[in-house]
Subunit: 333 residues, 2 copies
Amino acid sequence: MELVLESPLDMHLHLRDAQMLENVAPWSARYFSGALIMPNLVPPITTLDSLLSYKERIQKAAIHNPFIPYMTLFFKDNYTKEFLAEVKDQITAIKLYPSGITTNSDGGVRTMDMQILAPVLEVMSELGIPLCVHGESDGFVMDREKEFGKTYEKLAKTFPDLTIIMEHITTAYSVELLEKYDNLFATITLHHLYITLDEVAGGVLRPHLFCKPIAKRPEDREALLQAATATNPKVMFGSDSAPHPTHAKECCGCAAGVFTSPLALPALAQLFEARGALDNLQTFVSDNARRIYGITPPQKIVRLVKEPMEVAKSYGDVVPMFAGENLEWRVDE
Amino acid sequence: MELVLESPLDMHLHLRDAQMLENVAPWSARYFSGALIMPNLVPPITTLDSLLSYKERIQKAAIHNPFIPYMTLFFKDNYTKEFLAEVKDQITAIKLYPSGITTNSDGGVRTMDMQILAPVLEVMSELGIPLCVHGESDGFVMDREKEFGKTYEKLAKTFPDLTIIMEHITTAYSVELLEKYDNLFATITLHHLYITLDEVAGGVLRPHLFCKPIAKRPEDREALLQAATATNPKVMFGSDSAPHPTHAKECCGCAAGVFTSPLALPALAQLFEARGALDNLQTFVSDNARRIYGITPPQKIVRLVKEPMEVAKSYGDVVPMFAGENLEWRVDE
């Protein structure tokens, strides 16, 4: 059995920088035609110079071609109209983080007050720049995404011409929210399609499955799976693959992030096949993203075959999801 | 400010064995007049011989006197009436574990079918031996305790003369359940009075706060605090202090258990004082247990003073709760 994917896209990717970038970028470039690159470096990407030089470093590190790093800026509420007009053609989206909500988000917005955000969001609407959002409140960990729902609704209503992407959604609630507003879209990660809080903390505690937003309940996972496998036009694949060196995952307080780039496509194929929806993977992993973002990725054919793939125990100093386990599919290279 | 506690009791304690026993037992013996000792060694305590020799090892390791190890047997559904009658005077309770539900519970019961459990439970009722239960289903991690509620109700109704202790309760649901049956009681740990899932996995992942049952929601913690501090006669302190060596907590899949014995009383005093309920700590930490179990612990006065206690970063190879932090109270020794 085989599956041919045309120009798969990863619409939420962390590549970090320097040595880590060189370690992980080739894996994304090998299997994806393009990826939306998150801007939460230290310091975050907020200038055209830093954006262009980061893009150059990514292209250099990616090795495998074609691969397009679709760049994003880190949202600041004081960006000027002139700046946004200047940078527009170099970016695919702007990513908004509430301050302190996840890894390297300290420079994020301190308030989701629409009046404060309006000037920048209005310009983005005008210029047609999509807004990606890490949507979590600072409430109880299992409620954070749902609590942010009201903010998504306000954004969607206040800026009806703004394309808004709810990043890495984890709840049935968010899947329902998508239906209420034409301008709301979402990415879904590989790990949130596979795991619930049970896998993170139901047996032993598993740091390498710890991520933000945290994996939720079985009925939430089911809603995500349903949306992804049934060609819901509002959702697209975004791995949120986020490498952390082992020492930052296994020490006393471990950082959030799951690394999946090298195995994302085989794992997705396995999941979609189990749901009898193998033919729908192309929609989830490429077609929806092209339409939502209005992008045309370079042609890249990735052929998957149903033969075992043994996932490496680590990639450099990064332990991946499914480390040392077998998946049912592999990329035919 | 000071607080005098008379014969504090820890009604749920793991002391393990061998070197670990020698490391941790003195801390319990130093601050408590007695403790209910969990029987989930490897292999579990299921014979009079193993019980008596474990008791002897505990007494030897405890050092500080007086300290009574109130012994428990590991529940087996094939205990005979003769055996239970013989062992009765040597034990304070029998602890039931569903198989595989927590650390060293593999030998536990494979079913909670009342018909299968009835012969032993009827004898326990007759002989007046209390039943302690680790009450969790094998469902989704946040639902396990609530799902076990139906089983507690069946036990309470079927065996009205049996004293049943719901161990280490973590939910508002369980607190409510206590009110419904005269023969239902509960222990509450220190850590479940302090933390929710937020502290375990809301920021970074904190293996040393990972326990079973997992810490739940803010409203659950509030219900536990309310019961403990308001002299609810159905609840008593049981630390569930459970030492694991650091290597078993910080590796890829970390074991469940929080070590609190050396700091439990100061941390409880801090909590009770913050609720304006300092005078109620005696009830929670001793009086209720005496009445529920019908025990008379040896006289032991523990004097707490409101002066800073710096919690050690580790006790031997065991990292405690609040490692390296300051508490507001200390034991005046």
